[in-house]
Amino acid sequence: MSSRRSSRGSISEEEINELISKLQSLLPNARRRSSQASTTKLLKETCNYIKSLHREVDDLSDRLSDLISTMDHNSPGAEIIRSILRS
């Protein structure tokens, strides 16, 4: 988002800090951490979080595909799922 960059073209410290705090708010531990915000730890948390999100997405996708495959095509449930997928 270019709006965040300063017009000089260099990126100021505050902008980076703002980005970092925003990232921190995304992480699940945000509230408890009480903005301890050591950048190193934050980045490490982000790494782990992204990995766990990956795992979760894979897991959910597997479950969904299993559900769909085991379902009867003409059942109302399948219809619902199809409509959801289409949306």
Partner: protein, 376 residues
Amino acid sequence: MAQCGGDVSRHRKAHLETVESLCQGLLDDDKCRAMFGYLQEWPDLGSMCYNASLGEPPLAPEASNGSGGSGGGFKKRRPDACLDTKGESNSVCKRPRGKQQPCDPDQMAAAAAAAAVGKGKPERARAGAKKKAELALPKDSPATSASTVTAGQKTDYIHVRARRGQATDSHSLAERVRRERISERMRYLQELVPGCNKVTGKAGMLDEIINYVQSLQKQVEFLSMKIAASNPVVNFDIVEDLFGRQLSQVACNPAALAAMAMPIGQVELSCLQMSPLPAGSPGFGLEMFVNSNPYSPAPGGAMSVPAGASVESCLDVGGHKSVVFDMVCGFPAAAFLNLWVVFCTLLQVHGAAGWDIGSQSLFTGFDAPFQSVQSE
């Protein structure tokens, strides 16, 4: 990467120590050249040595060394080096552990030349640390040999070599270590997040990372909702055969469960509570699971709960048929309404008398919590 590099560097260190001893009494170029020949196998070291002894700038070892930490550099061992004796560089006492130090020949040259030649700040090598010129300048000062005596000392704390021209106090050194760690993490994140390679600069990468995390969260949420929405309706067929079904199947289908309870006549329905998934998951995909024992007239009794669901059940005692759906979190309302349509159909189909009364309270009981959910 640090691991393999460490091994190599340790190996090199052993050799270096031998060379060091050679250097100690060394004052003339002849011996240096001999040493240089010995060191031929390590081009970076060789060039450094060459450079140090002959005072000529090396031929771009920087490029080769900068290519990778594992390739070129060797670990700095001794904090003090000939460089320090000049007083221009920093007295070092630290070096990063397990890191490869790419050669920084400019620095060597500067030190070796002992002149204002090397004014230009050396390029920031990979980790920003420079290689120590252990063999440099034997001829320049006798103090050098003394400094080499301390060779081989290894301490347990992180050693960082301060660069020439930078402050040498512990704060900036620690700061630099911290910065190196941060950049290392950022690199790792860069690998993890697709599309980060095109953006350079901290802020751009942070931007990308934030967007990626948000999109992943949305994806998880969406998938969970899909699954949760599909679950209640999937086993609708089960309703037809109320007695023969497995408990586990029923568990997935609250409608079936309620229907199963009908013929039994005991209308103790569990109060279905839908709780969100464990706190760890970002998107609160709701899984609806029913926890109740339809076969038992007695109240209470938890059924087999499918794994992964956090369910609470409470029975409404007193023969009063009421189902309270306490929805803690938002649930796809459309799917739920669908469920209720099914349920109503069931009631009509089976026509259990006892249920007629129940259905009224069912609906009334249902509406209230549902309203509250909608407001969430």
